[in-house]
């Protein structure tokens, strides 16, 4: 990163770094509600990053995109999740399969991998935000890691949504966003998905008396 980077790009890079930081924070966070807050914060940062990109490039659909992010990932989804946690009365700490420090270490390795994988591609990008592609990939991977290590259904969903954030960041950073129709479709899918999941949580709790996914290990072959 040399000094020739314009301010806006520096800003976006900053936001991207914050998103990565938040991803790590989510990985380390034990409490569900805090996790949802972090997720909302991550969405907000993403929204801001998109907004900066929109202002810089002047592309209209990036504004829509930012608006969509704000509506969906900062307000609606966290709200739904929040309601679910309250209604389902999810209490206590989130237990991880692997302890947190180890997870963090693995996360670090993943970030290195992600950066290395993204490096040759970033160099090809002509957008001002190209550096963030590696970060986006890292966020996706960290979200993945979170889904692997967490044992509550709801945290898996948060991880899943965080992954979407990473993807969104990638779309923004590498290409200034996907075509509008696609973004709308993605947003719709995510929304419907979360609603269906919400329904699911109730059914799962009815059937298993818990949202712990360790109860759901009966279908197996060995």
């Amino acid at each position: 990163m040399n000094a020739a980077i314009p301010f806006s790009a520096q800003l976006i890079n900053l936001f991207a770094a914050v998103i990565l930081l938040l991803a790590f924070a989510m990985l380390a966070q034990r409490r569900v509600l805090a996790l949802i807050n972090l997720f909302a914060l991550q969405g907000l940062t993403l929204c801001l990053a998109t907004l900066v990109a929109a202002v810089t490039t002047g592309q209209v659909h990036l504004y829509y995109s930012a608006g969509l992010t704000l509506a969906l990932k900062v307000l609606l989804l966290p709200w739904i999740l929040y309601r679910l946690v309250k209604r389902l009365n999810v209490k206590g700490e989130v237990e991880a399969l692997i302890n947190i420090p180890t997870t963090m270490l693995v996360g670090l390795v993943l970030v290195m991998i992600a950066f290395n994988v993204a490096l040759p591609i970033s160099e090809l990008s002509h957008t001002i935000t190209r550096g963030t592609l590696g970060i986006a990939l890292a966020v996706v991977m960290l979200a993945f890691l979170m889904m692997i290590t967490r044992q509550k259904a709801i945290t898996q969903v948060v991880g899943f949504l965080s992954m979407e954030n990473g993807l969104f960041l990638a779309a923004t950073s590498a290409t200034y966003g996907m075509p509008m129709v696609v973004e709308l479709g993605i947003a719709l899918d995510v929304l419907v998905g979360v609603i269906i999941l919400g329904v699911f949580f109730f059914q799962i709790r009815d059937q298993f008396d818990s949202l712990d996914i360790r109860h759901m290990e009966r279908l197996k072959d060995n």
Partner: protein, 669 residues
């Protein structure tokens, strides 16, 4: 013009069989219609097939291309002399079996008669198409259809666990064999991608690939034919199947495997390498010896015959091996001799083994009993079946003047003239192999005496046997038809060989017909009368004349008085049926002499037993040496692999993650 028609006739016949089979579905429960109309119709088609093939023997090859098949590879059909020979075998034997089946299949035996009729005729049709197929796809389709239809026939009485297991084993090994055959075809295309047989003939493969193709074919066709160690299905499937089906499988289906092996080794692959022959010879010998030994110790009559089929297939393989050896060293006359032996034995075995299996069918119907230990004395109740079975038994024991002896004689002749092979080792080993062949033939006699003596002779071992009845008219006719073929093959070898010689000539370029024409039709002297000759007709006439003359003289000079009383038996008082040898007892010397060949579990009674009994169970070594270890290995791998599906979603996600990471890190364009 007639020669042009043959392939069309055969094709029509295959369709006709299909149609006859489908007609069975019209009224699947109407036993009378199916057995008295459709099966005789099928027999008629069989005769037609036999005659048409007989007519086309010696003529030029005829080809046809059908519209069906793969887009780039429509069904190619070709009727050459080799196909015609085997189609003739199929037609004539099928005719006899179908006629017999018309009287055999009855109500209430598992599968509905209509379905059975469909399966049976599909089986026939597919065998015919196997023989006609001239490309790999058509061949494989027909081959597997044959396996499938016969599988369903084997499991006709599927309510029994062991029959289902037998069927499964059969289909599994058939399938593995089919895979090997497919691979063999693949090798033979030599990467040219032309899967028609013409394309394979055009390939000039290196010795390595030729050998690969040959070995795969040997494995694939060997699995179908029942060569050791892929024979295990045979003694299970044959007893499980209804008798006409056993007859068809043993008599005809095994021969299609021989056909395939001949087709590949002599027609499709050009090179011939001497060790191919040694290999076939060795496997054949082991198979023959194994088959005959196990055949002697069986106590189920159909298993006994099934093992005897293994033995015969082994002998055929020995002949093929010998042919390959001679062919590899360009000793064409001897190769032709051995090849003739092979083809002749195929014909002979088809007829006499079907005959014997059908006889067991009649016995089974009359007594509901397959175990030799519960039969006996049936010659008094079933004279027709007994006397016709005797023809099969003599032929199967390889005794003159019936068909089995001719092929054995030819085989031994070709062995006898093997010195002169430019390979010293072979020179030594081949005659010893001949001795083993003789041992096999002699043991076959033992097995056949056991088979016949225990079923038909002696006292009835169970009281229920008194109600046994002879075969019905249809059945008698079928049996007589096959017995007639056996007799004709036995006493007219020269005539038959001059017909089937066309196939030998096609495969080897030389034949025996020219030599045979120099002598009379009654004389079989393939090389020259001074060196070896056999005149079965004169042989038969001499014995018959002596017999009749002797009888007439004795009656004329003395008297023909007969008195009946109880048996003498050195004056022993107890002469009940239990005093006779059991099936196990009869084979006791064999078990004792060849003890290492068997895996035996014996139970001896002791003095303190309240209910003393003796039992012996003979099992197949190969089962423990080959099949169970393979099954265990597969089981272990499965155990290892199913841990992938452990039920934990986190682990599943991790698989996905690791896959992604590995690909990201490793995969590079």
């Amino acid at each position: 013009m007639t020669s042009l028609l043959s392939i069309d006739i055969l094709l029509t016949a295959a369709c006709a069989w299909g149609v006859v089979g489908l007609l069975g579905l019209v009224a699947p429960r109407n036993t009378h219609f199916i057995s008295k109309t459709l099966f005789p119709l099928g027999a008629l088609v069989g005769v037609l097939v036999g005659l048409a093939s007989l007519g086309s023997l010696g003529g030029p090859a005829q080809t046809a291309v059908l519209v069906i098949g793969l887009p780039d590879l429509p069904f190619h059909l070709r009727l050459d002399n080799l196909s015609a020979l085997f189609a003739m075998l199929l037609g004539f034997v099928a005719a006899g079996i179908s006629i017999y089946a018309a009287g055999y299949f009855r109500k209430g035996e598992g599968t509905a008669p209509g379905v059975l009729c469909l399966e049976y005729h599909l089986f026939l049709a597919s065998m015919l198409v196997v023989l006609l197929a001239d490309d790999a796809y058509a061949f494989m389709v027909a081959w597997e259809t044959m396996a499938l239809s016969s599988f369903f026939l084997v499991t006709t009485d599927h309510r029994h666990e062991e029959i289902r297991r037998a069927g499964f084993l059969y289909l599994l090994i058939a399938h593995i064999g089919a895979i090997a055959i497919l691979l063999s075809f693949g090798v033979m295309t030599g990467g040219a991608g032309d899967y028609s047989f013409a394309g394979m003939r055009a390939q000039q493969l290196s010795p390595f690939w030729s050998s690969a193709a040959y070995l795969l074919a040997l494995a694939g066709f060997g699995a179908k034919a029942g060569l050791v160690p892929l024979h295990v299905w045979l003694p299970e499937a044959h007893p499980a199947a209804p008798s006409p089906v056993s007859a068809m499988m043993s008599g005809v289906m095994l021969k299609t495997a021989i056909y395939g092996l001949l087709r590949v080794s002599f027609d499709l692959v050009h090179a011939t390498i001497w060790w191919w022959g040694v290999m076939a010879l060795a496997i054949g010998l082991v198979t023959a010896l194994f088959g005959v030994l196990y055949s002697t110790v069986q106590s189920d009559m159909k298993r006994l015959l099934a093992y005897s089929s293994i033995e015969n297939i082994g002998l055929i393989a020995v002949g093929i091996g010998l042919t390959l050896i001679f062919h590899a060293y360009r000793m064409e006359t001897l190769a032709a001799l051995a090849m003739t032996a092979v083809l002749y034995h195929c014909l002979a075995h088809s007829a006499f083994k079907s005959l014997l299996f059908l006889c067991t069918g009649s016995v089974l119907h009359a007594t509901r009993e397959r175990s030799l230990g519960k039969l006996g004395g049936l010659i008094h109740r079933m004279p027709w079946v007994a006397w016709l079975a005797l023809a099969g038994v003599i032929a199967s024991a390889g005794l003159p003047p019936l068909s089995g002896f001719v092929s054995e004689w030819l085989l031994l002749q070709s062995f006898l003239f093997s010195p002169g092979l430019p390979h010293p080792w072979l020179n030594m080993v081949v005659p010893v192999a001949a001795a083993l062949v003789v041992l096999v033939a002699a043991l076959a006699g033992f097995a056949m005496v056991k088979f016949y003596g225990i079923i038909f002779l002696g006292q009835m071992r169970e009281p229920g046997l008194k109600d046994a009845h002879d075969a019905g008219t249809w059945e008698k006719f079928g049996l007589a038809w096959l017995a007639l073929i056996t007799l004709l093959l036995g006493i007219l070898p020269s005539t038959v060989i001059s017909r089937i010689d066309a196939a030998t000539q096609q495969l080897l370029g030389t034949g025996l017909a020219a030599k045979l024409k120099e002598q009379g039709w009654w004389m079989l002297a393939p090389i020259s009368p001074e060196r070896a000759s056999y005149e079965p007709l004169i042989f038969l006439v001499t014995i018959a004349a002596t017999l009749l003359l002797g009888r007439w003289l004795v009656r004329h000079l003395y008297h023909g008085r007969v008195r009946r009383t109880t048996a003498w038996d050195c004056g022993y008082y107890f002469q009940g049926p239990r005093a006779q040898d059991t099936a196990e007892g009869f084979s006791q010397p064999i078990r004792r002499i060849f003890e290492p060949m068997f895996r035996m579990q014996r139970h001896f009674p002791t003095a303190r037993d309240t209910e003393p009994y003796y039992s012996v169970k003979v099992e197949d070594h190969f089962w423990y040496w080959l099949y169970l270890p393979v099954a265990r290995l597969a089981g272990r791998i499965s155990t290892l692999i199913v841990t992938l599906q452990g039920g934990r979603i986190a682990v599943y996600l991790m698989y996905s993650f690791i896959t992604l990471l590995v690909l990201l890190l490793v995969a590079r364009p």
